[in-house]
């Protein structure tokens, strides 16, 4: 039983280490320059389907954006860019 636990912990540790190394690797992708559309596509889908911009008006998207910033722990930049995109596409 102890052996199984040790192997499980080892697998998790190796996985976490590889993930960490991957995260530290240099990337050509400039995070700061991501568009609102790209952030909308990447972040909303983590919990639910990507929403249709046409479903809400500008004021509603602003409220939904703040709600999601709190609930989903989006960064402030992400939330603002996503809201601007949705407001421009509705």
């Amino acid at each position: 039983m102890k052996k199984i636990k040790f192997i499980t912990c080892l697998i998790i540790a190796v996985f976490m280490a590889s993930v960490f190394i991957q995260s530290c690797a240099s990337s050509k992708e400039a995070i700061a320059n991501k568009s609102g559309a790209q952030l909308w596509g990447e972040n909303c889908i983590r919990c639910h389907n990507t929403p249709s911009p046409a479903d809400f008006n500008d004021a509603q998207w602003k409220t939904v954006g703040l709600h999601m910033q709190v609930r989903a722990n989006l960064t402030k930049d992400e939330a603002e860019k996503i809201v601007v995109f949705l407001q421009s596409a509705n």
Binding site: A59, T63, T75, K76
Partner: protein, 397 residues
């Protein structure tokens, strides 16, 4: 005459400009304060070997009230139809204030960020099944909501992201067996007031290592002293030495979410999982049925793993709305307690998405109960199984 006409036209234009300016100012004012009524609902039917039953499982209106760019009030009413009666609960009601980039303060009753299912995936239009995994939700081993204060936020770390939540809440009580002897030692999270001076504290940290946010790994911890200061057997000479004020509870959870577009398959793959463990320190309980005292190692655990596959990028309009889902969950409560149980569940489902927030969910669920505690029993009995076919319609409002 001409001069008079020109002057009149100028006045008219000026009046119209004033009206438009006023309307713009009015719209700007409206934008500073904004109400929204959202929420979700789910209804459908369950078919077992013995009966077919229509269910109105939930209707949860959510009020959002934003003031400016930094203040948000949100509240949720949970309405269910149970035993021919309408059951209404306040799911959450809290105020959040964005203090700075990556720092939000929240006070009130809020969903506890213990793992991810309870806080993020429980709404019926987000949950890919009509049921929750075993051990998760209102009757699970961890709290779903409580009253207190929390700080939370999301931060960019290079190409990775980190999110955090740290909170202090009233915390759970512990069932001492005076009201429900068969549940002695069980944590009770449904408390609106605290039963002692201690506060429960907890935290969750989520790490998103990839630039595309596809993977999130989270770890949660929660510590509480659930016992009352006084013995619940005060005045009972036989048992008044039994006291639970030194009992402590440590809950931990690990969660994982991986959502990725697989371009060659024109599909989205969605993997979710959570493991939760509850460790309550050992205590002695009294069973009034046999007037004996007993003790047990008070550990419970629950986990689930879920896989969803949807060819969302397919060219076929029907196929792109189809989603295949599978889930395995298990829940074990303390051996030797009167509520000892061991259950596992397999669920497979086929969903059809009408819109991004409207879904028809068909699923078949097999629950195996290996051990099930019952009043007056110290050891479990088992061997029963339950199979259910469900067809539910869920909508995010």
């Amino acid at each position: 005459m001409i001069a008079f006409g020109a002057s009149f036209a100028q006045d008219t234009i000026q009046t119209q400009l004033d009206v438009i300016t006023s309307e713009i100012q009015s719209l700007k004012k409206e934008d500073k304060t904004h109400f929204m009524l959202r929420g979700f609902a789910q209804f459908g039917l369950d078919a077992t070997h013995d009966n077919i039953n229509f269910n109105m499982t939930s209707f949860n209106p959510v009020l959002l009230w934003r003031q400016g760019d930094r203040f948000l009030f949100e509240s949720e009413l949970e309405m269910e139809f149970i035993n021919n009666e309408l059951d209404i609960h306040l799911g959450f009601a809290n105020a959040s204030y964005v203090v700075s980039k990556g720092l939000i303060v929240r006070v009130g009753k809020f969903l506890i960020p213990f793992g991810t299912f309870g806080e993020k995936f429980h709404p019926s239009w987000v949950n890919k099944f009509s049921t929750t995994p075993l051990g998760v939700g209102h009757d699970g081993i961890a709290p779903s909501a409580d009253i207190g204060i929390e700080i939370r936020g999301g931060l960019q770390l290079g190409k990775s992201k980190l999110n955090y939540s740290i909170y202090g809440v009233n915390g759970p009580g512990i069932k001492d067996g005076t009201d429900e002897p068969e549940e002695a030692g069980m944590l009770s999270f449904e408390n609106s007031t605290d039963n002692n001076n201690n506060k429960a504290v907890g935290s969750r940290i989520g790490f998103l290592p990839f630039a595309n946010s596809s993977l999130e790994i989270g770890a949660s911890g929660y510590y509480a002293m659930p016992g009352s200061e006084e013995s619940p057997f005060e005045g009972d000479t036989l048992n008044e030495d039994l006291n639970y004020k030194e009992v402590s509870a440590l809950l931990t959870a690990f969660d994982l979410s991986y959502v990725k577009i697989i371009s060659p398959l024109k599909s989205i793959i969605d993997i979710k999982g959570q493991y939760s463990l509850s460790t309550v320190s050992k205590a002695t309980y009294f069973n009034p049925e046999d007037t004996m005292r007993y003790s047990f190692t008070n550990n419970s655990s629950a986990y689930y793993a879920q896989l969803a596959f949807r060819p969302a990028l397919a060219d076929n309009a029907f196929l792109k709305n189809i989603e295949l889902v599978g889930r395995y969950s298990a829940y074990t409560t303390p051996e030797g307690s009167l509520w000892e149980s061991k259950q596992s569940q397999i669920a497979v489902g086929l969903n059809y998405w009408f819109t991004w927030r409207t879904v028809l969910k068909a699923s078949y669920q097999i629950t195996t109960i290996e051990k099930e505690g019952a009043p007056g029993e110290h050891s479990g009995h088992g061997g029963t199984t339950g199979n259910v076919f469900s067809l539910y319609f869920a909508v995010g409002l």
